[in-house]
Symmetry: C2
Subunit: 479 residues, 2 copies
């Protein structure tokens, strides 16, 4: 610990790795592309899970668990789905010492096995809707991996719902997109843009994919969550019909939606700084660290005792928060400060012999570095105000960053030079064709991140082809 | 729903399957030996997870996540471990469309990959202890499977700890056994016997395996949790050393411990009855159902309204509990009663037009079937007493069942006839040899469930060989 972190300006990619290493969030695993999520990183994921799970249950969903192993024949039932996912799969060919009669795929996503079960469970309109979510691991074979953002195995949740009507399924799809956006903004303090993906970027097997898109500090985009309207594609592939109130047999309508441990990567990339990890209070693994300070040996025991008392006071006042007392005798205060900054403790509370005499403490915010002296008796009240303020300030800072780095662009040349010179989100017109999208991707590596929801979209002409465009879309280079 | 359940006395195994099917706890999956955990079953597992996770954290553990895919070469590093687990593994040979250079095993347990990481993380005594737990899925290829009790893929938690001294590792192993016993008795209401496994039943790679053993209603035993003292076996296999305070390099000491979704099977087998599922309140998915009753059409809306008010009152009084209002108009009360009994709702609250007039409700306990009339205004207070009473009564009933079905036995003939005639736990002397154990297993299918912890063990002579025995052990047929 307490080694250096490469500054963002010098090498953003190295900075990201250094932050993860110094905060002990994750580590590379012996199997290529896999990661170990260490306790400090897993605690953030657990906080995310808890908040999301509450939101899912509040919107009527129940958790369940479906097997990880999917027969090869299932994968091939939905034509677009198999084309999109089969090449990325890990394949089990042997089990119990024998070659299997049929190969099994480790789930890359669970639509196929879930819709096979839904066929057994759904008979009548009375069995609908089914609103199920699962927390699980999935495997997608990846060539170029990056801790949290893209790993061969990752953790996620996947919602899979079944409905009697198209409208209900569409409403569910949009409702869960809203849940994701609320979670991103109110818990992660990450502003997102909601919209729909272009056809070439949609989920393999979906009719439409909705998404939330966020901007990272290097101005690249990151897709933070997706919600898919699946129409009747999987119901038809798996022959899932129900008897409706009118006694007719109809195919079931579907949605699926997911977010993953990639969100931990987004959180790091949006808020952290050259000193290390910064996490908003609602998701932090450590809400504060108390560091007692001493100058002379005879002060050590007394100061540790004062630190312990302060730790107990704030722990009692915030039972859901995690506070640490750093009473290690072998390290100097400055070394401890650096370590806890790297690890993303929301605040540091210092107390030295002179502070103790005056009954005061020193409070240092992790996000801004601001330092204040205050009476020890006021600490709890101050923290009660400070945490929501930090949460809000971090969101606001990220929102301003996005604003500064979002550019309106009307011609392709300005777009290309802007992308290279400053990067960011570019609001430009698109003619709606996959050919234009492919040309831009080929020439600039930028893609359409989403077609944002707009009440009164401004029509115009495509920045590339000059053909008519219904509205501006968001172009950016992305993770 | 509301189909019949085979009585226990007629066919215990069918009864178990019927309870699971009618309560919609789980379903067979298309891949042989795998199961789908349906929302009603998963809710029980979530309640188990929440309680255990709190207990793990209260004893200083942190959660983390290690990859599911383990290189074949890792499995072979610990000799006993590979012998025990390799034949049960599912093997990934292809990924991303290509044959892999090295086969990957889906984890049957994670000692190998975790100790490979611990080698990187442990340098000095300052890095110890490491107290990590992981919630995960594992795969063990099984020939004969049974929902929850033995499935090819199952969910579990696995704790993996690293210590500087043998004593610390041993203390940790025993501490977690105690946590499991407390959980089984206080949350599951399942009495357990703590003890140590004989060498032939211990975990492949452990020095000693401790376990908790429970008795099912068919008098068979079920191992409900294990905690392993691993000595330095994995540290030596993966070369994990630390520099101690005396500056010497030493191998690290270890424990591992786990419980799985098998506990849901144990819960069903201990408490449920011929009407269906019975779950103690601390783990129940449904703590109560309100069933409004009407005789005539004009009463329907009023009675549903009364039911809704009662549902709101009790939901507000028990925010952590789940209550349901069964306001379905198309089903008769009797049909609903049967359905909720099958699904294991802890209590049923009936209210009909005459009850409403008198401001009273009918309260029916699921575990005993006892029915009482009480003023609606007293309902919340009554439930506050009733839930702990049910929890306690269910434990006591199970404890008495075990007592009735535990027999002291001194000669092999009585043991064999007792086992066939009445079954149960048999306390009999054992000479400590694997030969005697193997002979008994071969001849009776009974095994040593555990050598129970006893302060003053009674010495004697082995019921089979007549050789000296240090103490009685528990013999039984087991799941």
């Amino acid at each position: 610990m307490a080694k250096g972190i490469t500054p963002r300006a010098e090498d953003y990619s190295r900075w990201y790795q250094d932050v993860i290493a110094q905060a002990q969030l994750a580590d590379y695993a012996p199997v290529k592309g896999c990661m170990v999520i260490r306790p400090n990183g897993y605690a953030i994921w657990e906080n995310m899970q808890a908040a999301l799970d509450r939101m899912f249950k509040a919107t009527g969903h129940q958790n369940a668990y479906f097997p990880m192993l999917i027969p090869e024949s299932f994968m091939t039932k939905e034509a677009e789905h198999v084309e999109g996912f089969a090449p990325e799969c890990a394949v089990v060919t042997h089990g119990g010492g024998k070659k299997l009669e049929e190969n099994l795929y480790i789930r890359p996503t669970s639509e196929t096995i879930i819709w096979d079960m839904y066929r057994k469970w759904i008979m009548s309109y009375r069995d609908l809707p089914i609103l199920i979510n699962q927390w699980a691991n999935v495997v997608r074979w990846e060539m170029r991996t990056r801790l949290f953002l893209r790993t061969t195995e990752f953790l996620w949740q996947e919602g899979h719902t079944a409905h009697a009507t198209e409208q209900e399924a569409e409403e569910e799809t949009r409702r869960m997109l809203d849940v994701y956006a609320t979670f991103a903004e109110e818990h992660m303090a990450v502003p997102v843009i909601k919209g729909v993906k272009s056809d070439s970027e949609k989920f393999a097997g979906a009719v439409r994919t909705y998404c939330i898109e966020a901007i990272m500090q290097d101005t690249k985009a990151l897709q933070a969550g997706t919600s898919h309207f699946l129409g009747q594609n999987f119901a038809k592939a798996f022959d899932v019909k129900f008897q409706d109130k009118d006694e007719k047999q109809k195919y079931v309508w579907a949605s699926s939606w997911g977010v993953s441990t990639r969100l931990v990567g987004a959180l790091i990339m949006v808020h952290s700084d050259d000193k290390g990890l910064v996490v908003p209070p609602k998701l932090a693994a450590t809400h504060g660290v108390v560091v007692p300070i001493w100058m002379k040996d005879h002060q050590v025991d007394d100061m540790i005792q004062v630190g312990r008392e302060i730790h107990e006071e704030i722990s009692a006042a915030f039972p859901d928060h995690v506070f640490r007392l750093d009473d290690r005798r072998e390290y100097k205060p400055g070394w401890k400060f650096t370590e806890w900054e790297q690890r993303g403790a929301c605040v540091r509370i210092e107390v030295g012999p002179r502070d103790a005499e005056k009954n005061q403490v020193v409070l240092v915010r992790r996000d801004t570095g601001e330092k204040e002296f205050l009476p020890r008796a006021d600490l709890v009240a101050r923290l009660k105000d400070l945490y929501p303020a930090m949460q809000n300030d971090m969101f606001e800072k990220a929102r301003q960053f996005r604003e500064t780095n979002t550019h309106q662009v009307d011609d392709y040349e300005s777009f290309k030079s802007g992308l290279d010179e400053k990067g960011g989100f570019f609001l430009g017109h698109w003619d709606g064709t996959p050919e234009t999208e492919a040309k831009v991707k080929e020439e600039t590596k930028a893609t359409i991140r989403c077609i944002p929801f707009e009440d009164n979209p401004e029509a115009g002409v495509c920045m590339v082809s000059g053909k008519p465009s219904k509205q501006r879309v968001i172009w950016a280079r992305a993770y």
